[in-house]
């Protein structure tokens, strides 16, 4: 991005309150043109609120919204260069597919020939070519959403907002639509802002993910970053499955530290910088489960639960002094599982875990 080129979307200290509830707290965010950014979080975290603020359906209590560098905080939705794909397609039932898609063009009195051309183009983009004369009630859920997508994109908006557009669809269609969205994003090169509570979806689609919690952004970064280096236990638990164990860092060095997990002390080249009370964040797939041995780093525990996953096994392992069961996912095609009640040795690569500071008990 060249210096001086404005951000596609810039959120500047936006706070939104209604009644006694603060839905958004002083949000700052900048989206570069062509980026696919996802707002991820549980319901009520403010992600949809922020989207509606960008679209213009809500006026923030404080702060401003800039599109291409221009302050649009006071501009009503129909005048903003932003279009939205909603959770429900909301196609106009009295118009056929072609007229639905052409809606925004008709508002601008675009000549008929151009309308026909652009509608055909938009429908081809979402792979529904030739369905101009169909009516909404003749389409499937996935098809309706694609028409809604075409309808939103035909006006070539600077930013496309998507508010959980796939959550009302069946799983199989959802996966198919994810691919479609990625492709459409690539082909149009537009800026997409996507809202979802499905963390798997967010990792698959985005250039950057912003994890929301209670009205603020807990962490923002590339999907790999969010997944591998979660900034807080909340992010760790929300994005993917995680073990989040309360531990104590006994001696922090520059490259190595000693941590006590339950009643066992481990030393290794863990991430430095954290001392005292900490969270150990460990992804289940990073845990290796082997025969017990008395040498080296490692913990020994007892298998309390076991489930076959096709690609491997998932274990729940009890560790001495640790209140929660450790989750481990072992991918091994021909491995023999460790039965429930057996003793196993648990270990992981130091680089695969995270230490986060912990307040309180």
């Amino acid at each position: 991005m060249t210096a001086g080129a404005p951000y596609s979307v810039q959120i500047d200290g936006v706070t939104h309150r209604y009644g006694r509830v603060t839905a958004l707290q002083a949000i700052d965010l900048a989206v570069t043109p062509g980026e696919f950014v996802t707002f991820l979080g549980p319901s009520g975290c403010g992600k949809t609120t922020l989207l509606r603020v960008i679209a213009g359906f809500l006026r923030p209590s404080e702060g401003r919204v800039l599109l291409q560098g221009e302050d649009v905080s006071k501009v009503p939705p129909h005048l903003r260069p932003v279009n939205t794909v909603f959770q429900r397609p909301s196609l106009f039932p009295h118009l056929d597919v072609g007229e639905n898609v052409a809606f925004s063009l008709r508002l601008n009195r675009t000549p008929n020939a151009e309308v026909d051309r652009r509608v055909a183009e938009a429908l081809a983009l979402v792979r529904l070519a030739g369905l101009e004369r169909r009516r909404s009630h003749e389409l499937s859920g996935g098809q309706m959403q694609r028409v809604a997508l075409a309808r939103a994109l035909i006006g070539r908006p600077k930013v496309l907002l998507l508010d959980e557009p796939l959550s009302a669809l069946d799983l199989a269609i959802r996966l198919e639509m994810e691919e479609e969205l990625r492709r459409v994003h690539r082909e149009t090169g537009g800026t997409f802002i996507y809202v979802t509570h499905d963390q798997r979806e967010s990792l698959a689609l985005s250039d950057r993910v912003a994890v929301f919690r209670d009205g603020h952004i807990e962490q923002i970064g590339r999907p790999e970053e969010i997944y591998r280096r979660p900034a807080t236990p909340f992010v760790a638990r929300f994005v993917g499955d995680a073990n989040v164990l309360a531990i104590d860092v006994a001696a922090a060095g520059t490259n190595t530290s000693a941590i006590s997990v339950g009643s066992v002390t481990l030393t290794g080249s863990h991430m430095a910088g954290v001392d005292g009370a900490a969270w150990l964040v460990l992804r289940p797939e990073a845990v290796s489960v082997t025969e017990p041995s008395a040498c080296g780093n490692g913990l020994t525990g007892t298998v309390r639960d076991l489930a076959y996953r096709g690609a491997g096994y998932s274990y729940r392992i009890e560790l001495p002094g640790v209140p929660e069961l450790l989750k481990a996912e072992v991918v091994a095609a021909n491995a023999r599982p460790f039965p429930i009640g057996s003793r196993v040795r648990v270990s992981w690569e130091p680089a695969a875990c995270n230490l986060l500071p912990r307040q309180g008990p």
């Binding site: 006026r59 009503p76 939705p77």
Partner: protein, 269 residues
């Protein structure tokens, strides 16, 4: 939820429309209590003299009594015939359903003038003397479709599977109706009967054509309107309003209670 578009213009129009509807009626009620015989502002003071006068007037009491009798007869007959017809139309898949429904709903589309005249002519042809009976017959035709509409909707909304389950458990048709169906629909049905009563009580046009020498309350109002110009008409009108509003309130509470209860049950499920 449109956060910004609160439609202030339509809001203002709505308030104006409400005032337009309510104010004229309020003025009528207000002047029924006027202490003088004047029907124009300023309003000098409250008095119940017109109520005393009206309520002690024999023609008024006769007319009111007649209206009451007719309305009760109409409500009951509509209830009986109506529940049967509603049940028959709702639970059938016969090809007669559509034509019969059409027949029953025709009176709604016909102006009272035509209904009244057609009945007048028919009674004349059949040699039937005009009386309160002919009035009740006329009201029945007029009121029936409204009752049917409401009752049938309630029956359609009901889950038929309940009746089937009862049948499966060995209940006969009357048992099913009175142990399964009726408990479900009785509030709506009573509400609809209440509506039927109110419609009959208020009816003027058909009555005008098919009544004999007696009078009903609306007819009494009409003849008063052509004779007197004092607040006694306001009083009669207010009494009429009170009765019909009371019936409306009953109907409203009965049908709404059912909807509220159902809404709560659905929300909890």
């Amino acid at each position: 939820m449109q956060g910004i578009d609160r439609s202030p213009l339509s809001g203002a129009i709505s308030v104006a429309a409400l005032l337009f509807l309510v104010l004229p009626l309020t003025i009528v009620v207000l002047f029924s209590f006027h202490e003088t015989a004047s029907l124009s502002f300023p309003f000098t003071g409250f008095s119940l003299r017109w109520y005393r006068e009206v309520l002690s007037s024999a023609p008024f009491r006769d007319a009111a009594w007649n209206s009451l009798m007719v309305a009760t007869a109409v409500a009951i007959s509509t209830l009986v015939f109506g529940i049967l017809a509603a049940y028959g139309l709702s639970r059938t898949s016969s090809r007669w359903r559509a034509p019969l429904a059409l027949l029953f709903f025709v009176p709604i589309t016909l102006p009272g003038l035509f209904l009244g005249l057609a009945l007048l002519v028919f009674f004349a042809q059949a040699g039937l003397k005009l009386s309160l009976v002919t009035v009740a017959l006329g009201h029945f035709i007029y009121v029936f479709p409204y009752f049917l509409l409401i009752a049938k909707a309630a029956l359609d909304r009901m889950d038929v599977a309940m009746e089937e389950a009862a049948a499966d458990l060995g209940a006969g048709p009357w048992s099913i109706f009175h142990k399964v169906t009726l408990p479900q629909i009785w509030p709506v049905v009573i509400g609809a009967a209440s509506l039927a009563f109110a419609l009959s009580f208020d009816e003027f046009v058909i009555t005008f054509f098919v009544i004999g020498s007696q009078s009903t309350l609306p007819l009494y109002i009409w003849s008063s309107m052509r004779r007197t110009i004092d607040p006694s008409i306001n009083t009669i009108s207010t009494l009429l309003l009170a009765v019909t509003l009371l019936l409306f309130a009953i109907a409203f509470v009965l049908t709404l209670r059912r909807d509220l209860a159902r809404g709560r049950a659905e929300a909890a499920a």
